[in-house]
């Protein structure tokens, strides 16, 4: 039984397996399939200052080894989360993080201010990379200036662990990562979805109501592993890797590329118990190869 504990800034995780925002609801949706306290942590879905209805149906399209989504940050708003959802999940023995989104810097800051009352929320993940909203989202994540501005403002408002989620839809993700590191981010998570599109050829119309959407799933894993490897070599803060992780082998690929922790996203839709299987498979791999801890293989490439 190897040691799977990892730290993201001051945040201690019992193991490196987290769930990606927007793919795991508020955790409760999966409690019949796994014991949530086995997870290193989970990141509740994109939360905004005000309630959002999200985009029109259809919001999803299946693609080769992946899927496109255009949910558009549907959520009941931060106040509803704090009053109705947080009390139900706060005592689960794992790290619960909130993915924070906004259309303006003021929005991001306001959500962080409100979340301070949740003393069990030790970390937030700032989403500057959502491809499915008109304002904000990816707009902030595709320039160093925009990314730095959001990070600096949120850093002022939030003194617990601050993770910034990066967009892969850029020429140089390392430049963006360095910019948010410089503004005090404790960690970066990558990759968010790649902007994609699919067409219903028989009906001659887009598959998504928004025409374009975010691509996720194993299809994008090679791109994600490459970006994580590049960013790990460029920054000194811990990196959280995600993008198409379906099993323990995939998770280890990100860790060997340098990731301190990983997030499981789309795979939760196909196997609701995949996260605990991944934890067990990582464990099995370390034991089989006589590694005592993840640090022995992290960034080995």
């Amino acid at each position: 039984m190897a040691n799977l504990e990892v730290n993201i800034g001051n945040l201690q995780l019992k193991n490196p397996v987290l769930t990606a925002s927007g793919t795991f609801g508020y955790g409760e949706e999966f409690k019949d399939f796994i014991s949530l306290d086995r997870l290193g942590g989970f990141i509740v879905k994109g939360t905004t200052l005000n309630p959002r209805e999200g985009n029109d149906y259809p919001r999803m399209a299946e693609t080769p080894a992946g899927m496109l989504n255009a949910v558009g940050l549907q959520n009941k708003g931060v106040d509803y989360f704090i009053t109705h959802i947080y009390p139900r999940i706060k005592d689960i023995d794992t790290q619960i993080m909130v993915n924070v989104s906004g259309a303006s810097i003021a929005d991001y800051v306001a959500v962080c201010e409100k979340l301070k009352v949740c003393d069990k929320i030790n970390a937030i993940e700032v989403n500057i990379s959502c491809p499915n909203v008109k304002q904000g989202g990816m707009a902030f994540g595709t320039t160093c200036a925009g990314a730095a501005e959001v990070t600096a403002a949120v850093r002022q408002a939030w003194d617990r662990t601050l993770i910034v989620k990066l967009s892969p839809n850029v020429t140089s993700i390392t430049d963006i990562a360095k910019a948010v590191e410089a503004e005090g981010a404790d960690s970066v998570s990558l990759i968010n979805t790649l902007l994609g599109m699919a067409i219903d050829v028989e009906r001659r119309r887009p598959m998504l109501s928004t025409i374009t959407g975010g691509l996720s799933g194993p299809a994008v894993r090679p791109i994600a592993v490459r970006m994580v490897w590049q960013v790990c070599k460029a920054v000194n803060i811990p990196v959280i890797g995600l993008g198409g992780i379906m099993n323990g082998r995939d998770a280890l690929e990100f860790i060997m590329a340098g990731a301190t922790a990983i997030q499981v996203g789309t795979a939760n839709f196909i196997d609701p118990a995949v996260t605990v299987k991944i934890i067990d498979e990582i464990n099995g791999y370390l034991d089989r190869n006589n590694f005592k801890s993840l640090s022995e293989i992290r960034g080995i490439i």
Binding site: G22, T23, F24, G25, E29, F30, D32, F33, K45, E53, G54, D56, Y57, P58, R59, M60, A61, E62, T63, P64, A65, G66, M67, N69, V71, Q74, G217, T266, N268, F269, I270, D271, P272, A273
Partner: protein
């Protein structure tokens, strides 16, 4: 078997289990009827309410996500459930090609189902178009066995050869048929059936969206309660991905958890 009316759907546990194909009958060039039982004989078949569905895992090069399929019937004595599958693409084709003895992984039970049947609902009409008849068989069976109510079924099809599971339906209630070419029952669409001249307490409906919307209109005029089962595309089936949303009077809700069955009064049709 626990009477379904005593089951609180909100506390029904969900499972992800391997099932073994007991039988796979091609009942039509486009439809197969698969009968499945839990592969682990020590695992009992989970409770399933009429109108609930399962998410089937598919393993081929073209398919990535699970496929939602509504439960067509449940046989507690034989620990089996059956799925009526329509050839609608690579995913459903893979399911239809499973042979006896093959293993298929299911997530179940999912969705709200048709809900409890009120005492006053003693003249229910169950309308199915095409593969939409699938959930109606199990609903009618439960009404008949657990409520001593003999439901009426209204089946719409293109032609006589497309009327599915007629004998099975007749076990539980009177069956009225409409075919577009008039080769069986009344000629025309279900909306033109003479059954609409009779009195009903509630209409339960599953089929193509245009058909369900037309029937919702009829019920509105007659101020009849109408419940429809929707088939929005979905990824997870658990309310996590928020992809299968339907607009309702209370905003966008997930068809996989708030549905697939909706009272048409709640929809923005």
């Amino acid at each position: 078997m626990q009477p379904i009316d005593t089951i609180d759907r909100d506390i029904m546990k969900k499972y992800c289990l391997d099932f073994t194909v007991v039988n796979n009958e091609a009942i039509h060039e486009l439809y197969s009827l698969l009968t499945l039982t839990p592969s682990d004989s020590s695992t009992s078949l989970p409770d399933i309410l009429p109108g609930q569905f399962v998410q089937v895992r598919v393993d081929n090069a073209e398919t990535f996500l699970r496929r939602p399929i509504s439960v067509n019937d449940v046989d507690r004595d034989n620990h089996t459930l059956s799925l009526l599958v329509r050839n609608a693409g690579e995913g459903s084709r893979w399911i239809m090609n499973r042979r006896q003895g093959d293993t298929v992984n299911l997530m179940l039970p999912l969705g709200n189902g048709f809900g409890n049947i009120a005492e006053s609902d003693n003249r229910p009409l169950l309308v199915g178009g095409g593969v939409g008849i699938a959930p109606m068989l199990y609903l009618g069976k439960c009404m008949s066995l657990q409520h001593r109510v003999r439901p009426a079924f209204l089946v719409g099809a293109r032609s006589a050869s497309d009327v599915l599971q007629l004998q099975s339906l007749q076990q539980w209630g009177d069956v009225f048929v409409t075919t577009e070419d008039g080769t069986m029952g009344e000629k025309g669409l279900v909306t033109a059936s003479s059954v609409w001249n009779e009195e009903w307490t509630t209409v339960y409906c599953c089929g193509p969206a245009p058909m369900m919307k037309a029937i919702a209109q009829i019920c509105k005029k007659k101020s009849l309660p109408c419940k429809v089962s929707l088939e929005n595309m979905m990824a997870c089936g658990l309310g996590a991905c928020l992809c299968c949303v339907e607009k309702t009077v209370r905003g966008n809700v997930c068809v996989c958890t708030e549905g697939p069955v909706f009272d048409t009064a709640d929809l923005t049709w």
